[in-house]
Subunit: 480 residues, 2 copies
């Protein structure tokens, strides 16, 4: 394989420099390009096609649950942003401000939306009057801006693409159920389709969304042992409704405040895919979102019949609904092998004169580079099986990585020792519930609280930090 | 029908006040809502679903022709915008400026993209090196901002949604062919799917896109006789390439400048649909983009078997790929009739106890309100035929309106007389090619040049204005 590697631009190895490995993949697999707009990037066709597949999958899930898409303005007047106290405190310091339109100076400056709760609330105040108007289950696919100081492609950029769901309900129970439902949708999508194991849990109060009553999140562990928050779902209670004076006439004919939620995932998921599944040969894409699921590479393509056969297989796979490509360019097979490994294509099919004679082809699965000879009979079924094999294989690999890097600790010293011996990872440890201890754990060990997992374990009766009675097991980690 | 009209909020009649009729439809058919962000709007679920259908259709057409989607930043540094002289002159006066990020004042202020030629050029300069890298056929679906003084929903708003195609080619011929091809894609989509007749033509030099060598457009005539530019396609030559120093090594091993195009349609198309097909009862939607193509309204729904039958028909139509809805709410059938007429649903299906006995239903087509009894056998086929009937019917109606309002004139006096007698419309008249005459026609008659149609007619040998030899027949009109 060393031969192949030389043929494409080499990427830094993960072990040598994980951060460099990551940005190498972003640029060399042609997911992004840098621009002169600091902290913003071009999402190139190959990267954008992954996002389109993520969008299509999630959009279908949202709509099946009764959600509708809308589109709010990208600007929020400063006066509107200020209506909810916690919200403005959380977001105002990190927004981009529009102060001039054409040559005219604006009286009320506008921020470019960092998130759209305020706009949705203004709209809900106009359209929600009666319990008959509820619930509204809205979502939008847009980009938002947060003026980050340090930026990295997909993980933290000043502009990023996302979806933001915003719902409004008659009762607190309904809104809580929606918050949980959407967290489950995200978790299921990540585990099933992105083959990425996640921990579901609730954020501690210090880590809640600005203005929320409760924030739930899914947390994934990257290959380097750092944690990545892959999606969040917020329950607002009626706090925003009160701040924006959204009221409805209830079934009892009395005025009441409705209850709200919001939830979102972003292009960050692409970063999570890279750091969960990628290796030193490049990207490894989960089949569900891979722009190309199978690439056909003709061997000795100048020989009679080879290209015809390759195109025949292409048609067979395409009509079976597989996203397939034939590369009949003039590059060598070896170059092509390396190229599509870099791009993370889950399945490679090689077909040459000898294969054709034997009515077979070679199939190589990207994640383990296993090579098998397969009959051309029922090829579409075989490829579908291989794709499923890849999905399961990369999930198992990621799960194993997470298990190897999850440390159950009873004392601060145990945390420090585990991290030192085994490297970064998830730490599970008990907590008394006090913010002081949360801060102290971070200060002493470097790992912050990621969430309070729904699946609790009773590791000890006392807080890992202060020794007082423990209330919850917390998942800790260093976060992207 | 007067009875139905009273049941929903009445809308202003077209003849009484066309502008008011238009905004009534926008709000009462729940396409948009106003916000506190001046000149920006909420696109509500029903309006956004129309846009999603437009997107899906066009995106499929673009991809089938080899285009790929990308995503550029929403910001353009002022220094980048200034690289192409004509372009910056055209756009700088009407952009929104970001001057602060968080609390930090920006050194180079950023405009919110009014269009993205400059960003694409910067990117192309980075990725195009050899003729082997060409063509790049890119598109993006985003929103853009232009600081308009007077705004109207869909037709002219400060933020609007669009797609912008940007392509770069080895030769001028290829780029010209792309420009023409994409204009044809737009025209075909408008005529076939939006059932909206359009005139294809080239803009006069005074009306070109800022920085373009040639701008092509499709022009449609609205119900009130005003013209609406429904899509544009620009040929840039190598002007942008020179300004941004994009060069490639050609087949002859020499450095050369590539040739570029851009092309776009916007949410304005929704405004065009409203003003082409709508009537005093509300929207009339072309089936191809209607969020609901057929609505089933149970009659005497409390009687046994009615709702079951309605749901059975729903399943039949749904599995045939028709976008269908059953309204089993507690509103009266009359209220529902008016409601879905307002929303422009192309086909209404009524089903009651007597219909069920006779194994039939009533089908009403929205555009002409024709009522027919149809057998429940092969209902999906019948509904598909009815949808096609609507498509053809509204196209014919729109074409007839355009024909009735197209005036062929040889003198300025003939133009004035035609507009006075028959009202606003398209004027066809010969032109010498001088900007002075173009301006004078507008000054004297109120109609400006819309385009130089590809389908020329020889109405006279001399310019309608100066009497000198005519070069082209121009299409004139008052524009939205």
């Amino acid at each position: 394989m060393a031969k192949n590697k030389k043929m494409v631009d080499a990427i830094t190895s993960m072990d040598e420099d994980f951060a460099k490995w990551y940005t190498d993949i972003c640029t060399k697999a042609e997911l992004i390009a840098y621009t002169s707009v600091k902290g913003c990037m071009v999402i190139r066709p190959y990267g954008y096609a992954i996002w389109e597949n993520i969008q299509k999958n999630l959009d279908g899930r949202f709509k099946a649950l009764g959600h509708e898409n809308v589109c709010m303005p990208m600007f929020i007047p400063e006066s509107l942003l200020q209506k909810e106290k916690d919200h403005v405190e959380g977001f105002a310091p990190e927004v981009a401000w529009v102060t001039h339109g054409g040559s005219e100076k604006l009286e009320d400056r506008l921020c470019v939306r960092p998130t759209s709760e305020t706009l949705f609330c203004e709209h809900y105040a106009n359209i929600v009057h009666s319990y008959r108007d509820l619930p509204k289950l809205y979502n939008q696919w847009v980009s938002v801006v947060r003026w980050e100081k340090t930026t990295r492609p997909f993980l933290r950029s000043r502009e990023f693409l996302w979806q933001e769901g915003h719902t409004i309900h008659e009762t607190a129970e309904e809104a809580v159920a929606e918050t949980e439902q959407m967290l489950n949708v995200y978790a299921d999508f990540c585990e099933q389709d992105l083959a990425m194991p996640v921990v579901k849990g609730r954020k501690t109060d210090s880590d809640k969304f600005a203005g929320a009553e409760a924030t739930y999140a899914i947390e994934a562990l990257m290959h380097d042992g750092k944690a990545l928050q892959a999606g969040t779902s917020h329950y607002f209670g009626n706090g925003f409704a009160k701040a924006f004076n959204i009221q409805f006439t209830g079934r009892d004919n009395k005025l009441a405040y409705p209850h709200q939620t919001s939830w979102g995932v972003t292009t960050r998921l692409i970063g999570a895919i890279i750091m969960t599944h990628g290796d030193d040969n490049g990207l490894v894409l989960p089949p569900a979102v891979a722009p190309i699921q199978a690439v056909i590479i003709p061997i000795q393509q100048f020989k009679e019949g080879v290209l015809d056969k390759a195109n025949e297989l292409y048609e067979t796979l395409k009509s079976a609904g597989i996203r397939v490509k034939v590369d009949d360019s003039e590059q060598s097979p070896g170059w092509k092998f390396a190229e599509y490994e870099m791009k993370g294509v889950p399945v490679r099919i090689e077909i040459g004169p000898k294969d054709i004679e034997n009515n077979q082809c070679v199939i190589v699965t990207r994640h383990n580079r296993e090579k098998t000879f397969c009959s051309l009979e029922n090829l579409a079924d075989t490829v579908a099986e291989k794709l499923e094999e890849v999905r399961k294989g990369i999930y198992e690999k990621a799960l194993k990585n997470r298990e190897n890097k999850t440390y159950r600790c009873k004392t601060i010293d145990e945390i420090t020792a585990a991290l030192e011996e085994k490297g970064d990872g998830f730490v599970k440890a008990m907590w008394c519930g006090e913010e002081e201890c949360e801060d102290k754990v971070k200060e002493l060990t470097g790992v912050g609280s990621r969430c309070i997992p729904f699946e609790q374990e009773n590791l000890s009766d006392v807080c890992v930090c202060c020794g007082k009675p423990a209330k919850k097991m917390v998942l800790w980690g260093k976060a992207y």
